[in-house]
């Protein structure tokens, strides 16, 4: 009898702990996004939308850099793939922005699957440069070779062609914000979920020691390929959102001059940390906005900041703040004090 009671107690406690950890998991997801969502009502709307979309773009890069150990200077290629997939659909075929986004994601998926099959065999530095090459090829293809379809530098304008949709109307900025918020939340939760799975562990393992992964019987190539496709499909998603947001795409999106942006922001935020992309995107977009309004050349300060962060130990903004927050959290939880 007593045993049964004890068992029930243990079961209850286990259940409670389980619930608590689930709660913690979701709190970790919802708190930063809640803050960002509220910010949408306080800060200027374009700023928050830009931060959300850019943070998705950065999450992809963060996964590549922090989990797979790939440094890629070719993210604009995948961004442009998504944006142009959306643009082609909305300009030539249909009017539904949701289907446009689906078309963008599909394009990104196809492009990254094809590119990944050949690229992931290369390692870090060469990988970065091959991707850069792909970006340049994309840029000139969109600007010159496919000019009859893409209208070259003039770009494709489809803002008026997007039809209103019943639930979340993507043509209205406020509702686009909600959609971007939801999208970023889902993507972020997805990456957080990946971290806890076997696949996530395998990704980290290939980064640290690919030979050992092979010896353990995992398919090293397949892991990297899958990771690459996941990350760059996310980048394409961000690209198609950019397309919807501006109602316009131009080859400028695949410009090699912007190739390092996502990498810079990833490191700015803190490589491999979960909150890094959010913090980095916020800091980067904010800084660009603020500095370009005050001084006019933001490059100097971004460069200075980047060098400072690297010299200070490459942990990035979140990487530096995290231990401090953790110490606070320790101080505030009662069990930790005992």
């Amino acid at each position: 009898m007593r045993d049964l009671e004890a068992n029930a107690l243990i079961l209850k406690r286990a259940l409670l702990e389980r619930m608590l950890s689930t709660l913690k998991w979701w709190a970790g997801v919802l708190v930063p996004f809640g803050i960002l969502g509220l910010a949408g009502w306080v800060l200027p709307l374009p700023f928050v939308i830009e931060v959300l979309i850019f943070s998705m773009y950065t999450m992809a890069c963060n996964f590549l850099l922090g989990r797979l150990g790939f440094i890629s200077f070719g993210q604009p290629a995948y961004l442009a793939a998504g944006a142009y997939g959306t643009a082609f659909y909305l300009y030539y075929f249909g009017t539904n922005p949701y289907l446009g986004i689906a078309a963008g994601i599909l394009t990104g998926f196809v492009v990254s699957t094809l590119a990944g099959a050949v690229f992931v065999r290369l390692r870090s530095d060469y990988f970065a440069l091959v991707n850069l090459a792909l970006t340049v090829i994309f840029f000139y293809t969109l600007q010159k070779v496919l000019a009859p379809i893409t209208h070259g530098d003039n770009g494709l304008w489809f803002l008026d062609r997007m039809q209103n949709t019943p639930v979340l109307d993507l043509t209205a900025p406020r509702q686009l914000l909600v959609f971007a918020w939801l999208a970023a939340l889902v993507i972020w939760a997805f990456y957080k979920y990946l971290d806890g799975t076997v696949f996530g562990a395998c990704c980290l393992a290939t980064k640290t020691n690919e030979d050992k992964v092979k010896f353990l019987g995992y398919n090293d190539f397949a892991i990297r390929w899958t990771g690459f496709v996941i990350a760059n499909t996310t980048a394409a998603f961000a690209g198609s959102l950019y397309g919807i947001y501006f109602g316009f795409v131009s080859p400028e999106m695949a410009s090699a001059a912007r190739a390092a942006d996502p990498v810079v922001v990833t490191i700015l935020g803190g490589t491999g940390t979960l909150y890094g992309p959010l913090v980095g995107a916020l800091a980067y977009v904010g800084m660009k906005d603020l500095i370009s309004r005050l001084v006019g050349n933001w490059e100097f300060f971004v460069g200075l900041l980047l060098v400072t962060i690297m010299l200070a130990g490459e942990k990035g903004i979140w990487g530096t703040l995290q231990p401090i927050f953790q110490r606070w959290a320790w101080r505030w939880t009662p069990e930790a004090r005992e």
Partner: protein, 289 residues
């Protein structure tokens, strides 16, 4: 008439290849010796061009101004080496790549601040033209090619005949051993870095009259320089020479065949080279991972 176009195309490609070589050799040397990827070489390139342009407008001495450009680039690279790279030589490759990218971006911002955003035309030191097989060719382009050839020879002699050059070559193979022999490798690093910076500045100063001087000029050549280094194989001087002229010709002759090809063809070439031989044409086995 048809032949004339091709001859001037080849000369154009040669001069372009020379500029690429001068730029890429710095990156390649830095990688070979210090295992860093020094994107900031492209900042010294822009700086060299701007200083040469400024000195030229004041003194009207084209060759002296080109020299000044190279010197200014050398000084800037010395400062950067002392303040930034000296502390991070031991870090991994991607780390230096990103730090140097920060320097490049910051430097471009500083150049925009000092010289403004407007592209400016630099005057050509030698206006004369010479006929090769009946085709008029600007003498200045030939001089650029000659300078690049002289630089290659000088580097070759310095690395093979002088004691410092031999120490550098040994350090490329194994830094720890050389340090164990009592050589101050950090002095070698500084020397190589400043030398690379000066060559980049020289490239910028020489290139300025052929294109416009503009703040983005460093960023515009980034893909090409990288391509040269990658096709040639990181750390190989001979490979850099071969691939620089290869890329120069592909750009120049490609544009004669089909204009949009000019910017794209070299990247296709690079993609093919990398997929067939991932270490580049003359890349060393050391780099295989």
């Amino acid at each position: 008439m048809e032949g004339n176009i091709w001859i001037s195309g080849v000369i154009y490609g040669l001069s372009m290849g020379s500029i690429f070589f001068l730029l890429a050799i710095g990156l390649s040397l830095c990688f070979g010796l210090m295992r860093i990827i020094s994107l900031d070489q492209l900042l010294y390139y822009s700086l060299g061009a701007y200083v040469a342009y400024t000195v030229e407008t004041v003194t009207h001495q084209p060759w002296i101004s080109i020299l000044c450009g190279a010197l200014a680039a050398g000084i800037a690279s010395l400062v950067v080496e002392r303040w930034v790279f000296y502390r991070i030589y031991a870090r991994e490759l991607t780390f230096t790549m990103i730090t140097s990218f920060g320097i490049l971006i910051g430097g471009v911002g500083a150049i925009k601040y000092v010289w403004g955003l407007v592209p400016r035309p630099a005057s050509i030191p030698v206006e004369a033209q010479v006929a090769i097989l009946g085709t008029p060719v600007p003498v200045y382009r030939l001089i650029v090619v000659a300078i690049a050839a002289a630089v290659y020879l000088a580097i070759h002699v310095a690395l093979n005949r002088t004691i410092v050059g031999k120490a550098i070559r040994a350090a490329v193979e194994d830094v720890d051993q050389v340090e164990g022999l009592g050589v101050d490798v950090y002095r070698l690093f500084t020397l190589t870095f400043v030398g690379a910076g000066m060559l980049s500045g020289l490239a910028g100063a020489l290139h300025a009259p052929l294109v416009m001087v503009d703040p983005q000029m460093g960023l515009e050549v980034v893909p090409f320089v990288f391509m040269v280094v990658i096709i040639g194989g990181l750390g190989s001087i001979k490979g850099t020479l071969v691939s620089a002229f290869l890329v120069g010709q592909v750009v120049s002759l490609g544009s004669l065949v089909y204009a949009p090809l000019a910017q794209m063809a070299p990247f296709v070439a690079m993609l093919v080279v990398l997929l067939v031989k991932p270490t580049g044409l003359y890349g060393s086995v050391l780099l295989r991972r």
